[in-house]
Subunit: 160 residues, 2 copies
DNA sequence: TATTGTTATACTCTATAACTATA
DNA sequence: TATAGTTATAGAGTATAACAATA
């Protein structure tokens, strides 16, 4: 992925300037562009492994909540049940997690990391730390804290 | 300002608590969750039209840069050329943009809004304004400005 | 009847490579 | 040879609806 780095005005390889206009103040657009940058960091660290951002998130939340229900996980992470089924199957086939049916509700599926899954998470967790990403991408610690707090509010604040 | 990180624990509809752990401080995760929220606003406003976020962004950048090359647009917006071809075809078929081959380089494709496209952008631009999104989602004007500035830096700052 | 998860389908976005037509 | 764009193919994410098993 050797795309040119975008700036307020961008000089493409053909020297053409493209003015983003009001899009530069568009929250949705900036969120997307920022995410592309951060994901590039992710893929740099996870190069070689077959695990993708969403999958690593799922692994970490399972690590934090052993035995969590598949449906609870889907709701919390904004993943549709149908997609969660496929995602879980991939992680099971990679021997990173295991499924179990709780006796008290045999419709449900509980998820836990396997030994290999625990090892995988422990091994890659440091690479995933925000500090790492934010610093490499050019934010100071103060800016990083501000950004995380604002994103958190944006993502989770109750709208009543 | 170092903000209080709201609700470390999330209560799903079945009363099951899921602890997101360190993910709550993960830049990539928060970017994604925030984006989901903001996109919900987008779809609320654009309900009924068949235009999606990426398409509306393309329309606005073409509006700002009449005759922009298809490839320049792809580079600036981090859209792959193959995908841009399909996206442009959809917009042409919707009669929102038109393609032209410049005589000085007959390999290239220049893009311009049609009258219908100009009208569409003019009509929906207000709905797309950041203020609208940010306020409805619970950020103050000050917070919004901070967030946009930080995201801009994250998205566009040169890494040298 | 309602809920948990699965299957099936479809469409978007992303990624890659092979291809054309121009330069 | 290199560049601009296209076509083809594949995988991942998202959305919806119909379905089975269980509550």
């Amino acid at each position: 992925m050797a795309e040119p780095l975008a700036k307020p005005r961008i000089v493409a390889s053909d020297e053409t300037e493209v003015d983003l206009g009001d899009m530069e103040r568009s929250l949705g657009f900036l969120l997307r562009m920022a995410q592309v940058r951060v994901y590039e960091q992710f893929f740099r660290h996870f190069d070689g492994t077959a695990v993708k951002p969403g999958e690593f998130t799922v692994l970490r939340v399972i690590a934090e909540n052993p035995g969590v229900r598949q449906g609870s996980l889907a709701r919390v992470l904004n993943i549709k049940p149908a997609h969660m089924t496929k995602l879980v199957h991939r992680l099971v086939q990679s021997d990173l997690i295991e499924r179990a049916t709780p006796p008290e509700d045999r419709r449900a599926v509980e998820l836990r990391l396997t030994a290999k899954g625990s090892e995988f998470v422990a091994q890659h967790r440091p690479d995933f730390e925000t500090v790492h990403n934010a610093e490499r991408i050019g934010l100071t610690r103060t800016e990083e804290r501000q950004l995380l707090a604002l994103l958190h509010k944006l993502a989770f604040k109750d709208l009543t």
